[in-house]
Symmetry: C2
Subunit: 464 residues, 2 copies
């Protein structure tokens, strides 16, 4: 064994030290310059500081004496302007190449930026042949075009903004729940349940060559919802949530559907009213959106300025037709066309729809025991342009009612464990789920769900 | 349509208002008492306050004049002591039942708690038959026993502590990366890649009755790592990370393996040294652990006090034998027994092992181009009791070397997209993954990975 060892002391110590050992660091010639991110450079007050900035070139403008570059490293939409003497220009300094630049930050004479980088050294660390590179300088590529390149589209301004927004929205949602005392539960992706009783499940197996394809001894599926698992937790925690991928094998290529998408789901114990659930949905929506608007103002503006208005007009135009394809009789489920009409009818603002026909809702929805219209205590939040954003319900916590309904559906044995949750210390509880991609479509005014997820999976498409 | 509508104004408004509508709130008889969580009650300075506390009964001690209860709602390990007049005792007030109590918080005469709740009303909202309930009052159930009840084990002290720790560790890891400027990327669960070139993949398909079982037109798998997808992001962001479920169809029932487990993965652009990667791993480990130790001190203590020492002694005993089953010649991979020996050899502290034999490492690992021992710039972090906690490497960013290696492995076509990442603005980069369950085993001194995940999936087992 000639492996080199390095030690760090036990984790219980607050201070880590490192024993010296053979160093494998390739020495950097510019060790004296401080590495700085573009976003930090842009907000820097310190002029004259010697810095090292690494990123990708977003524009090259050679002039007689000077060379102007725009540099981006993914930390902000706004690039850093770099000014260099013309003799630093090289043939490989092209749109899309990766560079390592040292220089000094100086006050910019332009109003468009606060500081600029006066470069002393420019090193192209990764070339980018502009002929082969699918994105062209100064061209605005359509989202449809960009979507063809899942491995490269994060290098466009719009998708890089989207990913920053997505990251911040994720953080905001997690903070919201944590600040409100929810425990985050990693509900499983693989499950032997079929939560909704619906079809459209992906099955999980080891290779078809395997003599025993049932790895888990039972058929196993990709989860369509973490709700039942969260209900387990609502037997020990006042409030729990999950935020992770969920799956539908819907054979649809629509702009609204993905085979893999993210869902925020919450479950609240000791809750007896839909009002309480609606309050959580509303607070969540507000908290997340306020955070995104304040932390990614520039990125959101990009969408609102260029992308959203055109599409919005189309949506409004479309929804102005009131000749609905589907019936709107009591007892029929709402179709997207109805959801949109309702939102518009209410002045194009988010709308809660509550108390759905009992027979339409799954076994876990709480019976309102009302008449003549027999309803379940369920709620949907509809939003402009998207339709259903959240769906939730009070859950049937009464053992007798639940066990009757499961028996009628022939599911009593399958859900024996679920009945036990009501047998031992049952509590009135309820919860909801929010489609994360739909949330992003809603706040950004975007149109196609494939544009708000890093790698889209849908019928006939699983690139990378 | 007799659905009831409620409106909330557009999300762009900072203030939401709600139009009045038919209210579905079932009126609460004790609307004047403020709902308080157990953890907030325990740290309350305000005595005499009228409060309403809901939770589950963890102990019942009837005495002549008074009744003493311990109440837990999942917000803390420590329960709230409830004192009530004996006449409030009822037959259904048993261990495990759910209750809704109103009363006043008063200074406790006991040293074991600061405050106690003097109950005026106690309502059992969910009964719990102590004969049928698998957990018994005052009995310490083994982790093995508790594991049989995945739908109920969150009601035990130990597993409820574990879930709080897991939730806080998740938050700490996410904060660490966010504070350091990483973008969080939701890398896909379903993928057409086989990242490691290894077998042991789960295949994803629609039902076997389907005439066209390839939903995605190509074979699709559950991800074994988000690394390649993160490398896509390392072409546009200085630093990106992912934290989500990963999968292995390993036919193992060992205490170290799960079919579904969580992985933290980071990828850092413009990184040229393993030292930089090791620093991130070390900082991550420290930041997460410091947060967990400070925010869940009581919960961690439970494990360190009761659960860990016995197991640790066994581990140390086992690893004292140096008759290894597997060879330790150069070129052979490290087995768990070696990892543990190395950790022990270094004084039972976390150890980095760097520069592994080139041929052992996957195609993406960066060639050190050294001799006589040809190595790749890879690093593992080994920790006591667990073995490998993190694995990482610099990635081969040089187009020529990478394309040669892929061609030799016959993978050039499959990974054409991956080569393109090096063709357009390639940067030196590297990253690592940390097994989240292994991290929890390590800091808690636990032994079996099934005890640190809400719902364990492994060979022949997919309960719920």
């Amino acid at each position: 064994m000639s492996l080199t060892l390095q030690r760090i002391p036990a984790f219980s110590s607050a201070l880590f030290c490192r024993c010296s050992s053979k160093s494998f660091q390739r020495h950097c010639s510019r060790i004296s310059s401080k590495k700085v991110r573009v976003s930090d450079a842009l907000s820097s007050e310190e002029t004259g500081a010697n810095v090292r900035i690494q990123g990708w070139v977003r524009s090259v403008r050679p002039q007689k004496d000077n060379l102007f570059l725009h540099l981006n490293d993914g930390s902000s939409l706004q690039p850093l302007q770099v000014v260099a003497s013309s003799h630093l220009n090289t043939r490989d300094l092209t749109f899309g190449c990766a560079v390592d630049i040292t220089g000094t930050l100086e006050k910019s004479p332009s109003k468009r930026q606060n500081v600029e980088l006066h470069a002393q050294h420019i090193k192209v660390v990764g070339e980018c042949n502009p002929v082969d590179f699918p994105f062209k300088i100064k061209e605005r590529h359509s989202l449809e075009y960009v979507r063809q390149f899942p491995h490269l589209r994060c290098r466009t301004n719009a998708f890089s903004s989207l990913l920053r927004i997505r990251s911040e929205a994720t953080a905001a949602i997690q903070s919201f729940f944590r600040d409100n005392g929810y425990v985050q539960i990693h509900t499983p992706v693989i499950t032997s349940n079929d939560c909704e009783g619906a079809g459209e499940l992906f099955q999980v197996e080891v290779g078809s060559n395997d003599p025993n394809p049932h790895f888990f001894s039972v058929p196993a599926y990709l989860t369509v919802s973490g709700q039942l698992h969260l209900e387990v937790m609502a037997g020990a925690f006042s409030a729990a949530y999950t935020f992770g991928p969920t799956f539908r094998a819907e054979n649809s290529q629509s702009r609204r559907h993905l085979a893999e998408f993210y869902m925020v789901e919450a479950e609240i114990a000791f809750t007896e009213s839909l009002e309480d659930l609606m309050k959580v949905m509303e607070d969540l929506f507000k908290a997340a959106t306020e955070h995104v608007l304040s932390s990614c103002a520039e990125d959101v503006e990009l969408f609102h300025k260029y992308t959203a208005p055109g599409r919005r007009a189309i949506d409004i135009l479309k929804s102005s037709s009131q000749n609905f394809t589907f019936s709107t009789e009591w007892g029929c489920d709402l179709q997207t066309e109805h959801e949109k009409f309702l939102v518009k009818h209410c002045g194009n603002v988010p709308v809660f729809v509550i108390n759905y026909p009992y027979e339409l809702k799954p076994f876990y929805a709480r019976d309102n025991q009302d008449q003549p219209n027999h309803t379940a205590a369920a709620v949907d939040l509809l939003v402009p342009g998207v339709g259903e954003l959240c769906g939730g319900s009070l859950r049937e916590e009464r053992l007798e009612l639940l066990s009757q309904r499961l028996a009628q559906a022939g599911l009593a044995d399958t859900y024996a464990w679920y009945l036990q949750l009501r047998e031992f210390g049952s509590v009135p509880h309820g919860g909801f789920g929010m489609g994360f991609e739909r949330y992003l479509l809603c706040i950004l005014g975007l149109h196609n769900i494939k544009d708000v997820i890093p790698f889209a999976r849908f019928s006939h498409s699983c690139l990378l």
